[in-house]
């Protein structure tokens, strides 16, 4: 969140508890997957450098840290987001039904300037699980994405690393687009934010 000068893209990942938000981030950034279910502890945000159309960007993926479990994410969490990823579990229809509430919640809390143009991406996760467990068909998912405003849709598996790179590539592109539009509007606002360091030295010393 700190410096707006280098291209830093803040992406937040929302969805019901257990759909695989943390797993998707971990797979994308650290190429890791863990089976053992543990409600997310210790996950803050993960960053990854990416090359988007010849531009180096840092993508910062914010995890909900479990505060979403009782609808207790504060407004601060949403500030400055450039893209929002909505995740559901293809074997869990409740998590699918909640997608549009998550989208509404985001738009209310994040106070985005143009709600109709704000980039979302929807991920249907856990497609590695057996076909007979599947609760939501691709067709049904696509039709929801269309009705919510032609939101890009990917079916992913954090476990088998399916479609994660492509999905986050779109996330990053759309976030970059959003960030550039935003920047044009409020350049000066972020110009003199200060950097607090432990020794209190100001940043930017030429020595």
């Amino acid at each position: 969140m700190s410096s707006r000068k280098k291209t830093l893209l803040k992406v937040i990942i929302l969805g019901d508890s257990g759909v695989g938000k943390t797993s998707l981030m971990q797979q994308f950034v650290n190429n890791k997957f863990s089976h053992q279910y543990k409600a997310t502890i210790g996950a803050d945000f993960l960053t990854k450098e990416m090359l988007i159309e010849d531009k180096n960007v840092t993508i910062q993926l914010w995890d909900t840290a479990g505060q979403e479990r009782f609808q207790s994410l504060g407004v601060a969490f949403y500030r400055g987001a450039d893209c929002c990823v909505l995740v559901y579990d293809v074997t869990n229809s409740k998590s699918f039904e909640n997608l549009s509430s998550w989208k509404d919640e985001f738009l209310i809390q994040a106070n985005v300037k143009n709600p109709d143009n704000f980039p979302f991406v929807i991920l249907g996760n856990k497609i590695d699980l057996e076909e007979n467990k599947r609760a939501i068909t691709t067709k049904k998912a696509l039709s929801l994405c269309e009705s919510l405003g032609n939101i890009p849709y990917f079916e992913t598996s954090a476990k088998e690393n399916v479609n994660i790179e492509v999905a986050f590539d779109i996330v990053a592109r759309n976030a970059l687009q959003q960030e550039l539009e935003n920047d044009a509007e409020f350049n000066e606002d972020y110009s003199d934010a200060i950097n607090i360091h432990i020794n209190g030295e100001q940043s930017g010393c030429a020595c």
Partner: protein, 443 residues
């Protein structure tokens, strides 16, 4: 919620959130509840709808003020000292990664109907309109004394003993005039009355030092301020707590606080759920029968402006202190002024929060000297808060209650309360450690 925890925290004010964060980082299992649907309790920043609902329920905000959520109006006007303890805690816990800060442009003091910048170094002292030519030299000598003072080098003490001499003795030693004492004591040492003059000089010395070092850190003023308002602070610490496993439940009324036969805290009841823990930390509003009124009441006037302060037209943010002696009062009046460059209101607007400790039964009249400095206002919303403190220290009932946020202009008393509660809860003094990098291996 039907579980056992190590600590239950009630209310998401800044004090509670810092403690919740610190305890979670140490591995305690924390349940943190607020009856309101937003973070911050008494130290929240409100959007326009929330603000009007609380302070002017009969009126709707004027649509020209723009989007509701462009506004973050602090309930408690304070700034962070850039070298203060809250900054220190923010840095050590890495909560700085969730919050962006900007400087406050200036620190001003009121003298004879006008305002002037508080000089914070020798060069500013020489330029200052607050002092005549000879007084400037005396002030310069005082600042040089402050800058060169070393505890272990008695030569630098200039014959003063900070534990024996009073602050008045120190002022006398440098021959400083009453007006100069006033701005040193009130706008640098940040005392809101004159009691400090007759006390040992040590505390005043430390406070002036904190002021000078804080100015030296970023240059313009000793103060920094979070973009989007002070309400970001409790949320930052709440996130810290959540990341270390703290459970958050907003919008959750507490129906009953449970005690055993000996009167010790055992848990809380909300709806059909019961959460148990041996210890509870909370703000005074959750324990009305366990707190006393301090006798002090604070009035705060939140003023919406569409222009900067007339006497400082180029300044986007500032603090003005009106020392009590200047306006024939017992307590200082503070103005905290921030605007859209700190993302607390819509473009083109500013917020001035005027506050003081009430001395008469017509408190809004008491604010008049400050209101005059502001010029025209778009709207003014006023609130009066009674200040509370816990009746006991929590050893008997394991109920640890924070103090109300006082009228001071910074967070030093808040962090004192945090440390004090931390000590009573854990039996250990708070030692800040750099936050460990989060372990990813065993996930």
């Amino acid at each position: 919620m039907d579980e056992d925890y190590d600590v239950i925290v009630l209310g998401t004010g800044l004090t509670e959130c810092i403690l919740s964060g610190l305890l979670s980082v140490e591995g305690k299992k924390v349940l943190h509840i607020d009856r309101q649907d937003h973070y911050g309790g008494e130290s929240a920043s409100l959007n326009l709808t929330q603000l009007y609902a609380k302070f002017k329920p009969s009126k709707k905000p004027d649509p020209k003020l723009g989007r509701d959520r462009d506004w973050c109006v602090d309930l408690i006007p304070k700034f962070l000292m850039s070298k203060g303890e809250l900054t220190n805690i923010l840095v050590h816990t890495d909560v700085t990664r969730y919050i962006e800060f900007k400087q406050i442009f200036g620190s001003y003091v009121y003298r004879s109907g006008r305002i002037a910048k508080v000089p914070a170094n020798e060069i500013e002292a020489i330029k200052s309109s607050l002092m005549g030519i000879f007084e400037k030299r005396r002030m310069k000598r005082f600042l040089e004394f402050m800058a060169s003072y070393k505890e272990e080098d008695i030569q630098t003490h200039q014959g003063l003993d900070l534990d024996q001499n009073t602050m008045d003795d120190v002022f006398y030693k440098f021959g400083l005039e009453t007006g100069t004492k006033d701005f040193i004591g009130h706008s640098m040492a940040l005392y809101s009355n004159d009691d400090y003059l007759t006390k040992p000089a040590r505390e005043s010395f430390d406070r002036i030092m904190l002021y000078l070092q804080s100015v030296a850190r970023y240059g313009r003023s000793p103060y920094i301020y979070p973009l989007y308002g002070l309400g970001e602070l409790p949320q930052g610490f709440a996130r810290l707590s959540a990341i270390y496993g703290g459970t958050y439940m907003l919008d959750t009324p507490i129906d009953e606080i449970l005690y055993d036969e000996a009167g010790k805290f055992t848990g809380v009841k909300s709806g059909n759920g019961v959460a148990r823990a041996p210890i509870v930390i909370g703000d005074p509003t959750y324990f009305p029968e366990k707190v006393n009124k301090t006798g002090q009441k604070v009035i705060r006037a939140m003023c919406i402006l569409d222009h900067p302060i007339p006497a400082a037209p180029d300044v986007d943010s500032l603090q003005i202190i009106i020392p009590q002696s200047q306006v024939d009062r017992k307590n200082d009046i503070y103005i905290a002024f921030v605007g859209s460059s700190h993302n607390v209101c819509a473009k083109g607007y500013y917020l001035a929060i005027v506050s003081t400790i009430i001395e008469t039964d017509r408190p809004h009249i008491e604010l008049e000297p400050a209101m005059k400095l502001l010029g025209s206002t778009v709207d003014v919303l006023m609130g009066i808060s009674e200040l509370y403190e816990p009746k006991s220290d929590g050893t008997n009932d394991n109920v640890f209650i924070s103090k109300s946020y006082d009228a001071s202009s910074h967070f030093e008393t808040t962090t004192d309360d945090v440390k004090d509660i931390y000590f009573r809860v854990t039996g250990q003094p708070l030692v800040l450690k750099k936050r460990e990098p989060i372990e990813e291996e065993d996930r």
